[in-house]
Amino acid sequence: MHGTRVRPFDHTGDVGFELSAPDLESLFGAAREALLAELMESPPGAAAVDAGEQPLHLQAQAVDRLLLRWLDELLYQVQTCRSVPAGATLHIRPPAVGGGAWRLEARLSAVPLDADAHGWRAEVKGATYHGLELRRTRNGWKARVILDV
């Protein structure tokens, strides 16, 4: 996606990355790619998918909490279900006027995990709230996430 960037940053014990994108859907998509790049050396691309799509619905009271739920859900898909979300189409909706939750609706296209072919690196235990940032900028959105490895 044009204008979408992922930059890993050094963290002594764990790993972290900074993301920027013109819209939230692109940012969450970039977070998916950054997570897969931490988990494996050669994550499969969407072209590798030959099965159907799987719907996913998440919600949270704040948009940054929605980002963490998204990452935790992806970790569950990969590490427990052994299903790599190689592609995703996303739609993110803000709370309705007067309150409510941020909502994410996604369709995940998955590939069975092949630890050898995908160059498995290491498990990630969870996405953390430590130093978590997600904010609107002049050009779109920026985020910063630290993962516990």
């Binding site: 050094d10 014990g13 590490q79 427990t80 498995w120 235990k125 953390t128 516990d148």
Partner: protein, 480 residues
């Protein structure tokens, strides 16, 4: 003497950050010159985390960090914090961490290095085959039924011993007898249970390992003898925790606690420190879930102990030859109620170990005279240490000591520095045989990625919060 950034010397290898701002208590950390330099290199991020811990409600002075302190999430790694439930003290899932009750178990053997050397490849292959390691490592063939898992979450290590994976005497040589009380399987989400079902008896990845070692230095002959350690004998060190089950408990309860913060008027400098009063409904639920996850971790290391015995037998050693036995098992990520100076406190240790002194009633008879064994893994190329707990630790650190070397290099940097190198060949040249599920893990975990654990242990010894007993050299490492 006041040093830069608001910390001052408070004794030998001991520094204090006086209470200021929203801190409720002072913070104290232990450091050598090398550790101070490392803290500066990471822009004092871990000291900032320690200051954040000192703001939590009901904390008892001081907030502490051991010399293996480094930047974590929420608490610093190496952090110790005690809370008084009678004074509004909290429990913090982020203060315990994702890998609930992660810990180390040291096994002794009757073997010498000379016995091991001719069969080391057979032992390596057998361990790698018998102990699932790496991504989402599982034992699908032994997958538990959910009712059995629920029993295990209450019973801990004894569940595995009843099924032939250990000896009854192993329990006395496991912290808390291998079972935290108050475990509540109903406090776990279905997803946490799902993640635990296939993973019992697996190592995982990251910094978890299984290592066969040789005793190459003895500093305290009497304490070493009490543990059955002497020069040249072979030991096995197991480092793992509660796997995906514990990770899920942490994720679930950080979310739940964040929602509850306004109810308790808790204002946090870092949301990963999400906390609730220990006696609140949320606090009690987390403590029940955490105890269940802790019991999974104890049972996990107990099951792996059984696999280690099987692996040595696969390699041609009879049970009489190897005589594998548990020296001790201790955790470094949990929160436990303990008596300190007449008060019942909830002590959080995040990358720190319990280190009770001689005579403490929770120690088994074999160690009552020497103090609680403390194991401090280094890196896969150098050495690990055996220590014992001291009166100094009981007095100054709520009976706590260090848990490892602490990283000095980020995982990204380690990967870059490993490019083009034959790390397995380099380790082989140092006399270390490696079996690893992933090259990436070996790169991230290479020896240079860690501080020299000798510096950490010498600091602990000199500060009086642990005493050196023996040093262990790795000869064989299994990594995820």
């Amino acid at each position: 003497m006041t040093l830069q950034l608001g910390f001052e010397t408070a004794g030998r290898y001991r520094y204090r950050i006086p209470r200021h701002g929203t801190m409720r208590v002072d913070a104290v950390f232990f450091a050598s010159q090398a550790v101070l330099e490392m803290l500066e290199e990471e822009a004092y991020a871990s000291l900032g985390q320690l200051v954040n811990v000192a703001t939590l409600p009901g904390i008892v002075s001081p907030a502490l960090a051991m010399p293996d302190i480094h930047w974590g999430y929420g608490f610093p790694i190496g952090g110790v914090a005690a809370f008084d439930p009678e004074a509004g003290g909290v429990v913090s899932p982020g203060g315990v961490g994702y890998d609930i009750n992660c810990g180390v178990r040291l096994l002794g053997t009757a073997l010498t290095e000379a016995d091991l050397k001719p069969r080391i490849d057979r032992v390596a292959d057998a361990l790698f085959r018998r102990v699932p390691a790496g991504m989402g490592s599982e034992r699908q063939a032994e997958r538990l039924r959910e009712d059995a898992l629920r029993r295990l979450l209450v019973e801990g290590s004894s569940f595995m011993i009843e099924r032939g994976h250990g000896e009854p005497e192993d329990l006395a040589r496991t912290e808390s007898g291998g079972r935290l009380p108050g475990a509540d399987p109903d406090a776990l989400s279905p997803r946490a249970l799902e993640r635990g079902l296939p993973q019992l008896g697996s190592l995982g990845s990251g910094n978890h390992f299984l290592e066969v070692q040789v005793v190459d230095e003895v500093y305290d002959a009497a304490a070493a003898a009490a543990m059955g350690l002497s020069m040249g004998t072979v030991t096995v060190l197991i480092h793992t925790g509660s796997r995906g089950l514990g990770h899920q408990v942490c994720s679930d309860y950080v979310e739940r606690f964040l929602d509850a913060l306004p109810r308790y008027g808790i204002d946090l400098p870092d949301r990963q420190l999400a906390a609730a009063p220990a006696g609140s409904a949320e606090g009690r639920a987390y403590l029940g879930a955490m105890a269940a996850a802790a019991n999974f971790a104890f049972a996990n290391r107990q099951r792996i102990t059984g696999s280690v015995r099987e692996a040595f037998e696969d390699a041609g050693f009879t049970p009489r030859d190897h005589a594998l036995r548990v020296i001790y098992d201790l955790a470094h990520n949990n929160a436990k109620f303990e008596e300190h100076a007449g008060r019942r406190l909830l002590v959080h240790r995040k990358g720190a170990t319990r280190a009770f002194p001689p005579g403490h009633p929770e120690l088994p008879d074999a160690y009552r005279g020497i103090g609680q064994p403390v194991f401090v893994p280094g890196d896969m190329g150098r050495y690990s240490y055996v220590l014992v707990g001291t009166e100094g630790a009981m007095r100054d650190t709520f009976g706590s000591s260090c848990h490892g070397a602490g990283r000095r290099m980020s995982r990204h940097r380690a990967r870059k520095e490993a490019r083009g190198r034959d790390l397995l060949g380099e380790l082989e040249a140092r006399g270390v045989t490696v079996r690893a599920a992933s090259r990436g893990t070996v790169a991230e975990e290479m020896p240079e990625a860690y501080k020299d654990v000798a510096d950490v242990v010498d600091t602990v010894d000199a500060a009086g919060i642990g005493r050196k007993v023996a040093r262990l050299r790795p000869r064989l490492v299994v990594k995820g």
